[in-house]
Symmetry: C2
Subunit: 166 residues, 2 copies
């Protein structure tokens, strides 16, 4: 016997499927790039793949506090991979460690996101006050998820430019 | 007096806001690029801005039949800007015409999308059969919108790489 899915659950399921598809696409790209290829730029003078790897770990992980679901785990990556430009910080974590962080972070997020109910998704996100949220109910957790899904797609569009012939 | 917004309306509002924000960002970028800059590549040997302009018009416009809302207007762009790679077709429409198509297409979509009710959004999209849709209700119109929003973000990530110093 199947339990009928409500419309609200369907909206959530569709949005989560979009996140999971996009995250899976990014996962596959990083997996296909060797450590040497990660040191290549997406275009002359632009970010390297390695920078985007650290950047995406940090930004995705920051969703956890933004969604008011707990503490971020990789806040120490923020300085080198978000606040500073690529190459501004030379002392970066080993690539193998970043690859592991990336996997762990995506798995943790996938678990957390799948546990939210439709009404959980419509609760406010962390950067809107309870007062403002009354008049701006679209500033909810779902808006954060859609924004971060778009952020991932944006950088996937750049990662596919890395020349894999070498 | 304000009418309370339902949860279903909120889900739709949040997804539409994500599309509109992303489309607005793409709009701003194309608007900021001169005709000469549109002829530049996003990276050496990759697509030119002009190709991405035609590509995004064609793919966004194709949402109309995919959402089962009517006929597409710019199917004639499909060959040069989707099926073929950049430069494979030399006889492209004038840039001014593409810029106008882009504006018209976004305005038309914005109007169409804003008229759908929450239950309209959960109806099947055109490439899933009525039979399959019974077991796969996530293959709905909203899934198409989220997918095309991601597609836009992907190419925005590339368009920002165009060197605007010349």
């Amino acid at each position: 016997m199947t339990t009928a899915i409500t419309n609200e659950q369907l909206f959530v399921k569709t949005a989560l499927a979009s996140w999971n598809t996009t995250a899976g696409r990014a996962f596959k790209i990083f997996d296909s790039l060797s450590d040497e290829q990660l040191l290549k730029e997406i275009a002359p003078g632009k970010n390297r793949g390695l920078y985007l790897l650290g950047h995406l770990i940090a930004v995705n992980d920051a969703m956890i506090p933004q969604l008011r679901l707990g503490e971020a785990s990789y806040t120490y990556l923020w300085e080198s991979f978000v606040k500073q430009r690529d190459r501004a910080v030379s002392d970066l974590p080993p690539t193998a460690e970043l690859r592991q962080n990336w996997k762990d972070s995506l798995a943790q997020l996938s678990e957390m996101l799948s546990n939210l109910s439709p009404s959980d998704w419509l609760e406010r996100h962390a950067t809107v006050s309870e007062e403002d949220f009354i008049n701006e109910p679209h500033r909810n957790r779902l808006a954060i998820l859609l924004s971060r899904t778009g952020h991932l797609s944006y950088h996937i569009g750049q990662l596919v430019l890395i020349d894999k012939s070498l």
